[in-house]
Amino acid sequence: MSAATTGKTPGKKAAVQAAEPEIRFVQGNEACVRGALYAGLKFFAGYPITPSTEIAEHLAELLPRKGGVFIQMEDEIASMCAVCGASLAGSKAMTATSGPGFSLKQEAIGYACMAEIPCVIVNVQRGGPSTGLPTKVAQGDVMQARWGTHGDHSIVVLTASSVQDIFEITVEGFNIAETYRTPVILLFDEVVGHMREKLVVPKQGELHVADRLYTEVKPGVNYHPYLPREDGRLPSSDFGGVHRYNVTGLFHDIFGFPTEHPDQVSKLIYHLVDKIENRAHLLARWKEYYLEDAEHVILSYGSPARSARHLVENRRSKGDRVGLIELQTIWPFPAQLVREKTAHAKNIFVAEMNMGQVTTLVKQAVVNPNRVFLVNRVDGVMLNPQDIGRVMRTIEGRGF
């Protein structure tokens, strides 16, 4: 058996009741749908795009049954905009897309950052740039997820490598979005999105579900929609409720009205960045395998983490001191965690399906960046255990 330990806050999983669990055999995209509904999704707007379309298709069927709203908008931009509007009305809201659509959504993602609108954006990654490889896997959007929209800001990006994890990380994504009033990007990839495997659906109450924090300010009393509490959280009031306030993508004061006052501008940008970056340790989700005595540590995320895990189990059985850290939070990048977990490693191999986007971050994070090696594939084919094994053997001086 694996020696997995998770980086989640303990105590979130209550004792499972004795009743038979609901078990399904589903695609990652469907697990995302079920996770979103579990988290209380009430509004989905989208536009079809491979390889994320199944998310829209399943929600078109399931959301009306739960009394929620599904709408297929005229384009990717409109979908993201509609999500912003619905969220301000109080709905937990989500959209789903892939590379080209993700590029188009960046404008409104920036709006959601600035106006602190909770929402979830799923990007099931395919090959890029441009139309790229519509039906093939890649992980080239790591940096775009962080910096795709213009201007300084911060954002949360989560990922997963199995159908079960997609379900749980989707719930987590909504929790973070609602708690910190931020867009959260679920950065999956074509392989995990389309892969079918077992999903044990958690019972209601088994996973923590966070709801929006509402203001206690009474009608007729001044409500400051953009005055954060000491803990950085902003109590909400829905459009249609008793407090009528302004929301804008411009820099704004505590009432939500535009300002160019340097003090207020500075305060807001620091708040937007700090509310996430200062919580990097709280937002970090990861899994680790055999790190205690590992000489060689593989760091991976998404579908390549499965190949890495296979390789690690295989080599452990032969006595090799190989370990794996699988990131589920990519942004804010858990640099301290990566540094600590790899402190005693001779070599660090970053397995990812791009030209080294996370590798760069790992090099910045670790004590000895010269011992960080990229293991990648960017040809639309899933990175397999042999790919990782060959690079490792070469670096270890043991031949190809």
């Binding site: 009430k42 005229e74 905009c81 509007g85 619905a86 301000l88 404008e107």
Partner: protein, 265 residues
Amino acid sequence: MAVKDYIRDRFFPHIWCPGCGHGIVLNALLHAVDELALDRSSLCMVSGIGCSARISGYVGFHSMHTMHGRALACATGLKMARPSLNVFVPMGDGDATAIGGNHFIHACRRNIDITAIVLNNQIYGMTGGQYSPLSGPGILATTAPYRSIDAAFDIVNLAMGAGATFVARTTSFHVKEIADLLKKAVLHKGISVVEVMVQCPTYFGRKNKIGGPVEIMEYFREHTAPLGSKKLEENPELIPRGIFREETRPEYCEEYAAIVTRVRE
């Protein structure tokens, strides 16, 4: 209640230029809302970017100042999530017919119950007087120093072609007509598009040597005529005003609610 009760008066005097038609439309809109005595907590103003978009900050509604051209898309999400809201979307030339053109035709097609007001001043004002899809050929603008060669959209025909169920046009000279049309637009179930031809004295009027606000408004008085009027019949070259279409078609939120009723677990 008085019109003053619907504005955020601490932001007045507003930022619009002296004689700007946008203030007249805001004024008429507030009179319309006041006369209809709508539930104040239902009032939402969703705007895009530009001079027209500043309306959202001035009204004491739930107000969402969004991105250029995206107001209708944001408003669609808002309205679908909470259909009881009364949603107004003021748009300028760019919001409605350029960068937001796609959202405009699709909102018309869906027939979602939103009041869309197009403030047509034939120019991009906030950025300093560039030509717009509503300028038409022969217009001088900072990006058309040798006169524009682009044909203009006819907003009424565009909205009707896209399937809007309430379509009307008036001008900033016809102030009572603006308020009347807006009242009818709000009460109409489905998308309503009201085009108001407004003056931009600063960039359009000055650049094209038409004159100040009064001269442009006089132009509106002389070059338009009510639909079905003798004046229009005798002078078919005039721009028609009035209600071009007012028809009943299933409204989008209601149609969706019917699906929910049918399939709800």
